[in-house]
Assembly symmetry: C2
Homo-oligomer: 477 residues x 2
């Protein structure tokens, strides 16, 4: 036992001791049940502090190679060989637990998992039903596509030039003036948020949003150290923003048209209020407008239409209208910002699917998209009416809601705060999947986001009956 750690080594003393003990066990010098010298003896032999020995032994105990027997000393464990074998594998669990990105909330992981199953009634899903997607038209449009050889190559940083021009034309109808250099194609609006999070904000920046927000159910900003602050949009807004912003950088995330999950549509006055409040504190606005095409009736222009100083980053997508499977969205903003985010996008995934971009271009240019939207809007209106009839019939004594103005959702409010994880799981046991309000506002136990866009009429009927019974059951407790 004449070994001593090497003080010239790059490894710490503690680590060298750990490796030396492992070597004793591996070579079979120390068999299971071997009693180790005392910490004091080891410290003397190694000529190190006793605390160094102690920490090394703790590490070896955590590995399952050593164990302490109370009042007796430290021993090589019976299954030290097994423990050693495990040590040759990377400890993936530790890797995962200590890594940077947050996992999804458990409820959302369950939603993602159960959405893959065919035997589940999906009452909350933010996706069009398969029969609302233009599957046949998509197949036939693929037959009409012809590629330039270059279109199978890597995309340019900001995306397909023609598609960007087509998007400028498309948003012009909403009063938004943009040139192709103001547009960056993204793989869905969620990616735009990711790019903004790492490409425009410093760590610790503030992301303002409404108290209830889709953004609480995902965490592109939280994962990179931003601070989320929910605010009320009232007459005090400008003051609130100025106060809470302090010296930090900040951004305001808003869904003014067919809000997710509440379905709310802001008035022109409300939009102006937000724009001016943010302007006063120089806070850029991220305007998420992915549901705009699904309005049952026309509304005022987006905030972006009143933006004269490049303060609004405007997000759109075809995921809620044409096909989420295409993974195509866009971000519109000042050229400096767009070039920066495109540069990061190149470092992230080298651009979005070129084929998907060609398909979206074809749909926009050929008029297929506009035609599809007209039919889709009517089908969603029919589904909304059908769902509301069931609600009037069964839920009017236990819940309240606003008439939907478009999109996918009814923000159903139960009279009692019964929507918790238990409630979610109980419905799941009965094959009914809901999106509980608490994923959009952790304090909220009154609401669910009811979607009339995904389940079939029959499933809506059955699912709402099960939901009803479950609510009544919870109220009686």
């Amino acid at each position: 036992m004449s070994w001593q750690p090497n003080r010239q080594s790059d490894s710490t003393l503690q680590q060298q001791i750990v490796h030396w003990v492992i070597a004793q066990v591996e070579r079979g010098d120390w068999v299971a049940g071997t009693k180790l010298p005392t910490q004091r003896q080891l410290a003397m032999q190694f000529e190190v502090n006793r605390s160094t020995v102690q920490q090394a032994l703790e590490e070896l105990k955590a590995m399952g190679i050593l164990e302490a027997k109370i009042g007796s000393g430290v021993y090589v464990t019976d299954n030290s060989w097994h423990a050693l074998l495990q040590q040759t594998q990377p400890n993936w669990q530790t890797y995962i637990e200590t890594s940077i990105h947050k996992p999804n909330y458990h409820t959302i992981q369950l939603i993602n998992e159960y959405e893959q199953r065919d035997d589940v009634i999906r009452l909350g899903t933010g996706e069009l039903a398969p029969d609302l997607l233009p599957t046949e038209e998509m197949e036939s449009s693929l037959r009409e596509l012809s590629f330039q050889p270059k279109s199978l190559g890597y995309s340019s940083p900001q995306g397909n030039d023609q598609l960007r021009a087509a998007i400028c034309h498309y948003v012009k109808k909403r009063g938004i003036e943009a040139e192709p250099q103001n547009v960056c194609i993204v793989s869905g609006a969620l990616q735009a948020l990711q790019l903004i999070a790492v490409g425009l904000l410093e760590q610790g920046s503030i992301v303002f949003q409404e108290q209830t927000s889709y953004l609480n159910s995902i965490h592109p900003f939280q994962s990179v150290g931003m601070q989320m602050i929910g605010v009320h949009r009232d007459n005090q807004l400008a003051q609130t923003l100025a106060q809470k912003k302090r010296k930090k950088q900040a951004v305001f995330y808003a869904i003014p048209t067919l809000h997710n999950p509440t379905g709310h549509v802001w008035t022109a006055q409300e939009k102006k209020l937000l724009y001016e409040a943010c302007q006063a504190s120089r806070i850029p606005i991220i305007e998420d407008d992915v549901y705009h095409d699904l309005l049952f009736e026309a509304t005022s222009s987006p905030i972006k239409a009143m933006d004269r100083s490049g303060q609004v980053l405007y997000m759109g997508s075809v995921s809620k209208t044409l096909s989420p499977g295409l993974r195509i969205g866009w971000l519109i903003g000042p050229t400096t910002v767009i070039e920066r985010l495109a540069d990061i996008k190149m470092q992230t995934d080298y651009g979005s699917s070129a084929i998907s971009q060609e398909i979206v271009l074809h749909w926009l240019q050929s008029g297929k998209y506009d035609k599809h939207i007209v039919g889709l809007r009517q089908q969603l209106q029919d589904r909304a009416d059908f769902t509301e009839r069931i609600l009037h019939e069964k839920f009017k004594n236990i819940a309240s809601w606003d008439k939907p103005k478009g999109g996918f959702y009814i923000w159903l409010k139960f009279h009692e705060p019964l929507v918790d994880k238990e409630f979610f799981l109980k419905l799941l046991q009965q094959q009914v999947l809901i999106n509980p309000g608490y994923i959009y506002d952790p304090q909220d136990h009154h609401h669910i986001r009811l979607s009339y866009a995904y389940a079939s009429y029959e499933e809506l009927q059955d699912g709402l009956q099960i939901l009803h019974d479950c609510v009544v059951d919870a109220m009686e407790k």
Copy 2:
């Protein structure tokens, strides 16, 4: 002048003073040229420290609203109104400069930009020439595709089930055993690196790699605070890794088959050495194998094929063989890891393009892919031979290189260290775009990554002549 800052406010005293001064100017109370009271007077009036006043004035000077005249005092500037107007716009440049993600290196931004231009000869591009992409076959395969309605919806977290099964079958030919639950579909191999960076590694982790590496030209790991360490693969490797790993988490990034940019192919012995060295220090390996299908002659199995303990994360892609525009790659690893990364992928972009996944599935299942690869390999071999003939003819006195074993690249080494940014820009002026060695190893000024995969035969001839003249010119200086 009786205003004082409010000590109960959430805003700092300094910030309140700044806002108060701005208000004086905005309301026109203080016009251009107004001389401010002294710092001492202001400090007394506000009942704050003089340093607080000083900092507030500094901020206002930086905004261009105030200016100091030496020996005279502080004044409202002539263009204070203009400065104020600018203050209502978000200062995007500051946002960009202080944000988390690094910009691409300037050379790489130029490469990304010039790759979009048709009048440039691309001698370094990591992409197949348009005429090597199966454009017509892709068009005709789109006519054969039929979609399930669900295939236009959101993808499951790990990607299309059938595609994952097809990929297991495909990698089996290389000796890799995997089940669909070991596979995650990604939007290109680069995204796999991003997911690993934020989903498996803690901040400050070590990423080992070879000294010269593709990974130096992108920065998925550096951008989130990982430490890159270049190592030599020699007999001391195990020791080097153990020493440098210290107590940190670590991962080894390797491209053992047709290395990017050197084109090197590791022997079975070299692969074993790395595997065992990493195993000894419990360091997971990321094996980037996107060029495998482009080997001119068969080689030993990937490292993943010898992996019995789930230590290797294996990356593949169709970007180098079928179409980069599809944006489809995959990561193969232990289920725990794959589920974790798929969860983050759902938070990043809700999955890859479903259409692109359907297309890749169709090509793999129908045998079209294998057939395409055979032809492609031959075309690359012809291009490599052609390029080498030019090199022998023109470059043998000024450079050296290894005969390419497949893929896209010849790692051309000039006898003199003349490859710097000036050299890069000089060629760019002559419409020749190269990938200089220094983007793969900042210390390297001898190499360029010469690609025979993109430029036409004529462009190769012309471009290499210009390159030759430029080298001779630089040598004569």
